[in-house]
Symmetry: C2
Subunit: 356 residues, 2 copies
């Protein structure tokens, strides 16, 4: 890498193109898989992933419950890989999500799940990977090689692929209805516009000497809070704690004080509205609040002096998850550079992690 | 409260008696519920909880998968309470875990789950609570009123009740086999002995000026890592980050350096063995490692100079979850007192949290 952070910057900038490529190039393949899943009528769904991909899996679990009415949860690979659990998985859809497809534990979970009767799907950026090979079905993210170790474009590609898939399962034959297709087709342009705004980069300066940071969001915005925290940890080595808005009030709120920056992802829908009390309680503790969300009246929420906002488009919260993370990736990159770190190659990390 | 922390200290000290009361007084009631669950043959299980109880739920999800072969996961209440999801829950066991039974979101999840065809169970310390009323089945923890806001004895009571329940589902008629009953009957004594050791209190001094802390464990020890982190956050306001051993290697490891204390829960079984690589990688980063676990050869793990150990009994990892947390509760209490905080009434917190 010639200059610090150029790899991560290039990965981030490429996201509108990755969205466009997925929407144009993979729509047919995803629709076929969606139709097959619909045909098999799973009674419940289990998502399994690690690190960044775990946040895409969490998003997909919300979508599955809310949009398909199919109960969904995240599985801990260790029940199967470490303790040898062999659950009965007939009627179950098991989805492994991983950019590299190379983590042995996920491959093992999907292999066992298939033996145990599950319908298995791998979502990866690596068609020939062990995870892709282990699953009955595979979606290729086609996001191109990621330059930095910290995942950015593969994360949003995972979100979009899972969104296309799950909306497809709702639709006859897996093909998206016109309004959904139109809404999705606007995402590359919206991502482009979101990345053009540089508020997040300016705010990075404010956190130069922060000792810790809290991120929060509810529903579809919670994966964004988790992923933002992970990016900050792996590139700036800043301890970043992510909480669902509700869990924040169950204990961790005690930590918040004027020395603690709180990044709250507040959408224009039900998840954003449900953050109203959370924002008020964070305000009472006089934490340094920055709201990421549409630049408009927050459904009457009293922001208690949240002076700062990182504006993102006012879209359905399902789509917001693909856009709100973009300025937060840029924030992590800018903060890492501001601290003299190399976000392309964080100390102690490898691109493929090989725990069993 | 007359003196700082006396409430939390009393709650912690009471745990052996709470275990004994649960084992003696509730065994019959739990066995009846276990038999009913076995009779209904759920195909999958969903646990729902907040804060500390979420960690008991996570423990129960591992147990359910490993011991019953029933796939299990944690549900986000917001899918139902915020977005109005109405998943098809026939063949599903939905378990709400909450000491107060008073969080409106959990009550709502269980109420909806019951309408949607699930077999519902509430595990609470409050038989007349909305959550207990909403569920078809109820287990009373009978742990007595908790003095401090930070939950301690209700957490371990939840673990034990869920363990008794899940082992009961395996057994004909819900009654535990003799060896299991004998193993459980030793827990009050083991808890007593574990609480007698004061290594954790001595180590608290070492963390007086720590700016952050990392906790880690795998499998049955992962809920312990999560709960230890939450206790440290809510009583000492110390940012504490919990990771499964595997997830730690997926990014957050970059944060670890000699200024970061790492508390690793390392049991005497498969979960502990699977921490070997994690400990080695943490050692490479020269983090300040403390191992919580049995005082004996760690299956040959190279601890890379982990000079410190908080000794806990060498028992099956299922039981270790009930014991390893005890010194960590004392550590949180001692650290809060050392920093001049009042762990009985953390700033900004309430005992019952009422997010919907």
């Amino acid at each position: 890498m010639s200059e610090l952070g150029t790899g991560m910057a290039a990965d981030i900038a490429e996201q509108p193109a990755v969205f466009a490529r997925l929407l144009d190039g993979q729509a047919g393949a995803v629709a076929t898989i969606a139709a097959e899943i619909a045909r098999r009528r799973p009674r419940h769904a289990i998502f399994t992933a690690r690190g960044t991909s775990d946040h895409a899996a969490l998003y997909a679990a919300y979508l599955t419950e809310i949009r398909l009415g199919i109960p969904a949860g995240l599985a801990s690979p260790s029940a199967i890989t470490v303790y040898g659990a062999r659950p009965d998985l007939r009627d179950c859809l098991v989805v492994g999500v991983s950019q590299s497809g190379g983590s042995p534990d996920l491959g093992e979970v999907v292999r066992v799940a298939r033996e145990q009767g599950a319908l298995t799907l791998a979502v990866t950026n690596a068609p020939g990977s062990p995870l892709a090979e282990a699953a009955e079905l595979h979606i290729d993210l086609d996001a191109g090689p990621e330059r930095a170790i910290a995942a950015t474009k593969t994360y949003t590609a995972e979100l979009l692929a899972l969104l296309m898939l799950i909306e497809g399962v709702r639709a006859p034959g897996g093909a998206l209805p016109t309004d959904e297709r139109e809404a999705l087709s606007r995402l590359p342009q919206l991502a482009e516009e979101t990345l053009r705004d540089s508020t997040a980069v300016e705010i990075a300066d404010r956190y130069r000497f922060a000792a810790r940071i809290v991120t929060t969001g509810r529903g579809y915005a919670y994966p964004t809070a988790r992923e933002a925290a992970l990016k900050l940890m792996e590139t700036s080595y800043l301890p970043a704690l992510a909480f669902s808005g509700a869990d924040l009030l169950h204990g961790p709120l005690a930590m918040a004080d004027p020395d603690v920056p709180v990044l709250a992802i507040v959408g224009a829908g039900p998840g954003g509205r449900s953050m109203r009390d959370v924002l008020a309680r964070v305000g009472e503790r006089r934490a340094d609040l920055v709201v990421i969300g549409p630049d408009r009246d927050l459904n009457g929420a009293d922001l208690n002096g949240a002076a700062l906002r990182i504006p993102t488009p006012a879209v359905d919260e399902r789509y917001a998850a693909l856009l709100d993370i973009l300025p937060l990736q840029r924030l992590a990159l800018a903060l890492a550079l501001g601290r003299g770190e190399n976000p392309d190659a964080p100390r102690g990390l490898k691109k493929v992690t090989s725990t069993l």
